[in-house]
Symmetry: C5
Subunit: 155 residues, 5 copies
Amino acid sequence: MKKIGIADTMFAMADMGKLAEKTIKESTFPVKIERYTVPGVKDLPVACKKLFEERNCDIVIALGMPGKMPIDKQCAHEASQGIIQAQLMTNKHIIEVFVHEDEAQNDKKLAEIMKNRTIKHTINALHLLFRPEELRKKAGSGERQGKENAKALEL
Amino acid sequence: MKKIGIADTMFAMADMGKLAEKTIKESTFPVKIERYTVPGVKDLPVACKKLFEERNCDIVIALGMPGKMPIDKQCAHEASQGIIQAQLMTNKHIIEVFVHEDEAQNDKKLAEIMKNRTIKHTINALHLLFRPEELRKKAGSGERQGKENAKALEL
Amino acid sequence: MKKIGIADTMFAMADMGKLAEKTIKESTFPVKIERYTVPGVKDLPVACKKLFEERNCDIVIALGMPGKMPIDKQCAHEASQGIIQAQLMTNKHIIEVFVHEDEAQNDKKLAEIMKNRTIKHTINALHLLFRPEELRKKAGSGERQGKENAKALEL
Amino acid sequence: MKKIGIADTMFAMADMGKLAEKTIKESTFPVKIERYTVPGVKDLPVACKKLFEERNCDIVIALGMPGKMPIDKQCAHEASQGIIQAQLMTNKHIIEVFVHEDEAQNDKKLAEIMKNRTIKHTINALHLLFRPEELRKKAGSGERQGKENAKALEL
Amino acid sequence: MKKIGIADTMFAMADMGKLAEKTIKESTFPVKIERYTVPGVKDLPVACKKLFEERNCDIVIALGMPGKMPIDKQCAHEASQGIIQAQLMTNKHIIEVFVHEDEAQNDKKLAEIMKNRTIKHTINALHLLFRPEELRKKAGSGERQGKENAKALEL
C-alpha cells in the first residue's frame, strides 16, 4: 500500500495537517498516512526527506504558514529551496502548501485560503500518486489553490 | 530513438505543453515525447529529474508561467535554481520556458509571447539534441525567444 | 545514550550556548552534550555537520546572533541555507536559534528574547529526539519562540 | 595535451566565444579548444559540467551577456550559482565572463568592455592552467577585467 | 604536520594573503602553508575545495574584497554560498575573510579593517585547528573582526 507523508509545523496558526489527513481519509485512494510535526517551516525540508527515507513515504505534503515580517519571508524562501533540494535528492514529489499570514485581510478569509489550498493540494498529491492523468487534463488551465482559478488563454 | 520530455504545469494560463508537442511532431527529428504535468513551477525540478532518470529522456523542456505577485517571482526563482541543480545532477539539458504573467499588457500579446517562446525554445531543444552546430552558428547573435532579437555587435 | 550538539558563535552578544546546556541538564532526558564554538554564523553549517559525522550527535542546536547591517542579514541567510543543506545531507535535525540584534529596542528586551527562544527551542530539540508526540500535539497552534504565541484559527 | 572549454550563448550580443578562441590560439600555450553554444546563461552551468565530464576539458571559460531587466539580473544570479556548483562538483575552474547589457552607455563602450574582459579572463584561464604563479604575482593588486585596475593599498 | 590553505584574489586592493602568511609564520603553531591566488571571489569556492582535496589542507582562509556596486555584492553572496557548500562537501572549515570596498570612508581606514580582520581571522583559523578551547572561552562574547567588539549581555 502507498504511503503519504504529512509534514507540518507548530508555528502555523491552524491545524492544516488535520485537514489534509481528513481529505485523504475521505478520498477513495488506498493509502497510509505518516504525520511529522516540526517547529517551523525551516525544519520541513529534512522532515520531508526523513519521511521518504526512514518511513518509506511515496509522496509528502509540506504544510506551513510563514509570518508577515521580512525575516519570515526569508525563512519561507529558504524552506522552499530546501524542499526543492529534498525532492531532487530523493526523486519524489513534495507538494508545498504554504499560506502566508498576510495573504488575507482578516482571520475568516485567511482560514478560507488555508482550507481551500490544503484540500486542493492534498488532492493534487493523491492524483500525482494514483492518477497523474487528472493533472494532465488540466495542463495550462490556470488552476489555482487558495483562490479562484485564472482564466485560460488559447495559443 | 531519442526521447524528449515536456514538463508543464496546471497553473499556467495556456497549454504551452500541447504547443511544444505539436512543434516537435511537425519537426523532422525522430524523437519520442514524454509529457509530465505538475501543479506549479516549483514542482518542475523533480519532474524533470524523474523524466531523465525514470523515463529515460535525453532532454527536457520545462514550461511554466509565474504569476505577477512578488511571491510568484520568488517561486520562479526557486524553480529556476532547482532546474539548474537538476541539470547538474544528471548532466542533461533542461530548456526552461517561463513566461511571466506580467510580461505583456494584454492577453493577446501574452499569448503571442507564449507561442513564440515555446516554439523557438522547443526548436532549441531539438537542435541541442540533434544539431548543436545550429546553435553554434548563432553564437553571440542576440537571439531572443518571445520577442525580437537584439542587434549584434562586432568585437 | 543519545547525544545533542550545541554549535554557537563568538560573535553573539550573549552565551546562549551555556543557557542551552543548562536547559538540557535540568531536563529529565538522558543525553550527552557536545559543544562547538565557531567565529560567526556562516561557520555554523559545517560545525553542525561535523557534530553529526565526527562526534556522533543525534540532533544539533545552532545558536547565532546576526548583526543589524544589511551584510549581516545576508550572512544569516547564507548560514540558514547551509544549515538546511547540512540537514539534508545527514538526515538529522538542526534546530536553528537565531536572534537578530535589531529584534528588540533595548538590551533588556533583547536578552529576554534570547533567553526565551533558546530555552523553548532547546526543549523542542529534546522533544524531537525523545517525544515527537509533544510537537504533534501543538501542530498548527501558533507556537512562537522568543515572543508570545499567535492565536490559533479553526479550519 | 590540455583542453580548454568555451561555453557561450546565442543570447549575447557579440561573439565573445570567437574572441576567446582567437586569444587562446595567439597565446603560446599548447591547448586544444572545445566550443559549446547554448541558448542563454542559465544553460551554461550544465554545458560547463558536460565540457569537463564528457569532453575532458581541464578548465572552462563561460561567456554570457545578461540583459538589463530585473528578470535578466535574476537569471544571471542563478547562472552564477550554478557555475559555482558545477566547479565544486568537478574540482575544476570555470572562469565566468559575464558582461551586463547595461554596463556601458553606448554600444561602442559595451563592445570595449566585452573585448577587454574576454581577453583578460581568457589569459587568466590559461594562467590558472599553465602558470598559476602569474596570478600569485598579482595577488591583491586591484586587477580588473573590462575596466581600469583599482589602486592597490599597502597593509 | 598540519597544513593551512590561503586562497586569495587578484581583485582585492591589498595583499591580505601575504599578511595571513606572516601571521601564521609568527605564531607558534607548527603548520605548513599552501597559497592559491584566483581572479576574483567567485573563483574562491573551488580553489578552497582543491586546497582540501588536491593539496591536503586541514583548514583554509579565504580572503576577498568585494567591490561597491550592486553586482559586486551579488558576487560576494554567490561566493559565500559556494564557500559554505565547499565546507559541507569536505567537512572542513573555511574561514571567510571578506572586506567590502565600501566598509570604510577612506583608504587608511579600509586598510586598517583589512589588517585587523585578516590577522584576527587567521588566528581564529589556527585556534580552530590547534586550540578550539580558545574559541569556546569567547562564546557569546560579542567578538568582532575588523572593528571593535560588541558589548556582551548576561542571560
